[in-house]
């Protein structure tokens, strides 16, 4: 694709070394485009330094909602080129791309020039010096805005909101810088032909998946959270701190993940819907307590914002490699709920649903988000409020007469007394127990309680939320989590190319809805798509159900996300054989 004819999507990267403000410029560009009526998202890529490392903001704009990064970059604007070659793979440049750099910011890296991309120079530092209080990143912002056709006024509307408190001088300096950048974009003469936005952006949201998961949790009724910081989940917890305080809840910082998960078991035992968020290493530490919550039937929600593993892995990069531990990590037979949001926006729904499921079934629920969903800033349509709330079954007066906490029930869910309820006293226990809760090693008690915990999950009416299914083609793109957006985009392109597809993305990973999944894929070819090194979803599906017909896989690890073009290529290659 070259820049002839208006396209419905474009991607601009702004890059710079420490403190250059590339990420700030990117987020302003996204918000201004959002105001103009485009949808979009911004992913960020940073070096390993805590502060002052090189950073790149990837801003993808589109006339319709987008949920994945683009196959290629239309333009890279470099405040300076120092260490920009580290992002060479991520830029995904080609001969239609444009590299705009400051001649004082070093030479354009060879790795980037090899793509055949055109180059242009804008002396951002020099130009910024000519403005009192001027900053090169605001000139880069102006260049980016100019290339995609955003007006000064739209950019300034965002800037005034962000820096208005710094005074008229700061606003004026930014305006001057943005205008110079816009002017230079004109002079380059290679505009990105992004189709005009349809409708105004008013009413849309700008949100990250971590914030969205926090919002879903609070909407679902979570009022207690325990927190131990870990990349890339920390922002979720930081968002919850003031949000919970506003709605009458509280967040406690724990000394480690062992403490945070046990704290939420304690608060939930007290009757408060509770959540913590972590990433793979933290989930590993929480696994023992997840078994406790399963055995003692305490509802809790743990959000795992997955990153590349094992061990410390690549903390700032996405991967879907915690499926195995989330589904199979617990010792003993410990059925629990695992759900995965399908987009940044869906983080609201799925987390809220997880709270509802955990509370309704008195079981732990793991939400498998990932770094891509968690840290991507997206312009979305506001997620519709849904009715899922924390509704825990508590004993009535009749149930409190001769109360048995773990009484066997047809649906496996026994009323849970809360401290303060007279005659409801019981001891929650990780030891195998009888219906009353008294420790027991009897064969029948062990089997009955294992059955109870299994049956309440398998018999639950999950409705149509178990998966997203779109299209009726012969080729199934079966994927999950953050890859759903890329698969959806690939499905559309394949359909346009004459390959009829069906997208199947399970939101409910465990318990797997085997019959419904088999029905969704019956009689079709299936391509299982996931981002990890061993095909964890594929192997899980194989272990649970007979995958009928021809099944192929597309899986590889991070840190580079699987893009729509890669999925299309795999599907086309299969077709041409």
């Amino acid at each position: 694709m070259t820049s002839t004819g208006a396209r419905d999507s474009a991607c601009v990267a702004i890059v710079g070394s420490g403190g250059a403000g590339a990420l700030t410029a990117g987020s302003i560009l996204l918000e201004a485009a959002g105001k103009a009526g485009w949808y979009g998202l911004m992913t960020r890529s940073v070096g390993p330094q805590i502060r002052g490392g090189e950073a790149a903001a990837f801003v993808r704009l589109s006339t319709h909602p987008v949920e994945c990064i683009a196959d290629r970059c239309d333009a890279v604007i470099a405040i300076d080129w120092r260490k920009a070659d580290r992002f060479a793979d991520e830029f995904a440049l080609d001969s239609g791309s444009l590299l705009v750099g400051d001649p004082r910011g070093g030479d354009v890296p060879e790795a980037l020039l090899r793509s055949g991309a055109a180059t242009a120079e804008v002396p951002m530092k020099e130009l910024a010096k000519g403005i009192e209080g001027g900053r090169p990143n605001m000139i880069a912002l102006g260049v980016a805005a100019g290339l995609v056709g955003l007006s000064t006024e739209l950019v300034m509307a965002v800037l005034e909101k962000r820096i208005g408190s710094k005074g008229a001088g700061a606003v004026a300096a930014s305006r001057a810088a943005v205008e110079i950048g816009l002017d230079h974009a004109q002079r380059i003469g290679r505009p990105i032909a992004l189709a005009a936005a349809e409708g105004a952006g008013h009413g849309r949201w700008q949100i990250t998946g971590n914030e969205a998961a926090g919002l879903g949790a609070v909407r679902g009724g979570v009022r207690f959270a325990a927190a131990y910081p870990i990349t890339p989940a920390t922002e979720l917890l930081e968002w919850l701190t003031p949000a919970l305080a506003k709605v009458g809840g509280v967040l406690v910082q724990a000394e480690d993940e062992l403490a945070s998960v046990n704290m939420i078991i304690g608060s939930s035992f007290g009757g408060t819907p509770s959540l913590t968020a972590t990433s793979g290493p933290g989930l590993a530490l929480m696994i023992e307590a997840l078994g406790l919550a399963t055995a003692s039937e305490i509802p809790i929600v743990v959000v795992d914002v997955m990153r590349a593993g094992p061990s410390t892995g690549i903390p700032t990069k996405s991967e879907q490699s915690d499926l195995n531990i989330a589904v199979h990590g617990c010792h003993g037979d410990a059925p629990h709920i695992v759900v995965a949001p399908l987009s940044v926006s869906d983080c609201v729904f799925t987390t809220q649903w997880a709270v509802h499921l955990a509370e309704a079934m008195q079981a732990p629920a793991i939400v498998l988000s990932d770094q891509f969903l968690g840290q991507t800033l997206a312009v979305i349509d506001p997620p519709a409020p849904v009715a899922f709330l924390a509704q825990r079954r508590v004993p009535d007066a009749a149930a409190l007469a001769g109360y048995q906490r773990y009484k066997l029930a047809a649906d496996g869910v026994s009323p849970m007394a809360l401290p303060g309820m007279a005659a409801g006293q019981y001891t929650a226990d990780g030891l195998t127990h009888n219906e009353k809760g008294t420790p027991s090693s009897r064969t029948s008690d062990h089997r009955d309680q294992l059955d109870k915990r299994r049956d309440k999950l398998t018999g639950f009416a999950y409705g149509d939320h178990w998966a997203q299914i779109e299209g009726d083609g012969d080729l199934v793109l079966l994927t999950w989590g953050s890859l759903t957006g890329a698969a959806r985009e690939a499905a559309q392109r394949l359909s346009e190319a004459g390959v009829a597809t069906r997208l199947v993305a399970p939101r409910l990973i465990a318990p797997l809805q085997v019959d419904r999944l088999q029905e969704a894929i019956a009689g079709r070819r299936v391509l299982v798509i996931e981002q990890n090194h061993s095909g964890q979803l594929y192997r899980y599906l194989r272990s649970m159900c007979d995958l009928p017909g021809e099944v192929r896989t597309l899986y590889r690890p991070g840190p580079q996300p699987i893009r729509p073009g890669e999925i299309c290529a795999a599907a086309q290659a299969w077709r041409s054989q």
Binding site: E31, F224, L244, A259, S296, P385, T427, A428, D429
Partner: protein, 277 residues
Amino acid sequence: MSVIEAIKLKPRDFASDVKPVWCPGCGDYHVLMSVTRALAALGTPPERVAVVSGIGCSSRIPAYTNCYGFHGVHGRSLALGTGLKVARPDLTVLVMSGDGDGFSIGGNHFLHACRRNVDLTYVVMDNRVYGMTKGQPSPTTEPDWDSALAPGGTGLRPFHPLVIALASGANFVARAFSGHPDETARIIVEAVRHPGFSFVEVLSPCVTFRPDQSEWKDLVHAAPVEATDDPARAARRIMTDDGFNIGVLYRGNRPPGTPQAGAAEVDVAELDREFAI
């Protein structure tokens, strides 16, 4: 006063009918007795009390009470009790542990519970041995105590829980002896009433694996001086005493650290606003 309020609660109102797994003569029987006596004296009805524990002989205690109980995983009782107390400040929360559960696997939580100073009471039954796994050295075991796992002794300096509690910010520190159940009950009552994090170490002999501890009844004695509110002075006393001073040793005046759930100021829908473009 209503009829309900006039009913005086008795220790047996706080005891369950579950038979303990403890060995005959175990000190923990007396600790259980002290807890039920203390709770009766406090007068809080059993449904408003939660007894939280980890794993080990002493941690079996919740099921032997008629309160709400939680017998969790090894070493994490303080975290679980903290979550419960913060979410439900109306409850009386007793966290019960042993020297292995509380000072070894749960050591980190001990430090941070002291720091956090949430208003709960932590009672550790210290018998200087892992009893449930049949006799291994714990952090408080003497360095020359012989065992299969550490023949000839560990050679390690014993952990000093009371001093560590002081250094970490506990607001009330006491040592009790299981063989003196009335005095232990009185100390627990005071610990519960004292604001913030209260720590009571109860010397509770293991008759099976530490028969030598039968001499403790002859070694214990009342602390010779009144409790202080100066943590440095309390620490110096405890570092230099014979390890058998019984009584309240420190009463601090730090305000409790219980984070309060705020009043619900806004409707949840208000949270949407920050995301609007």
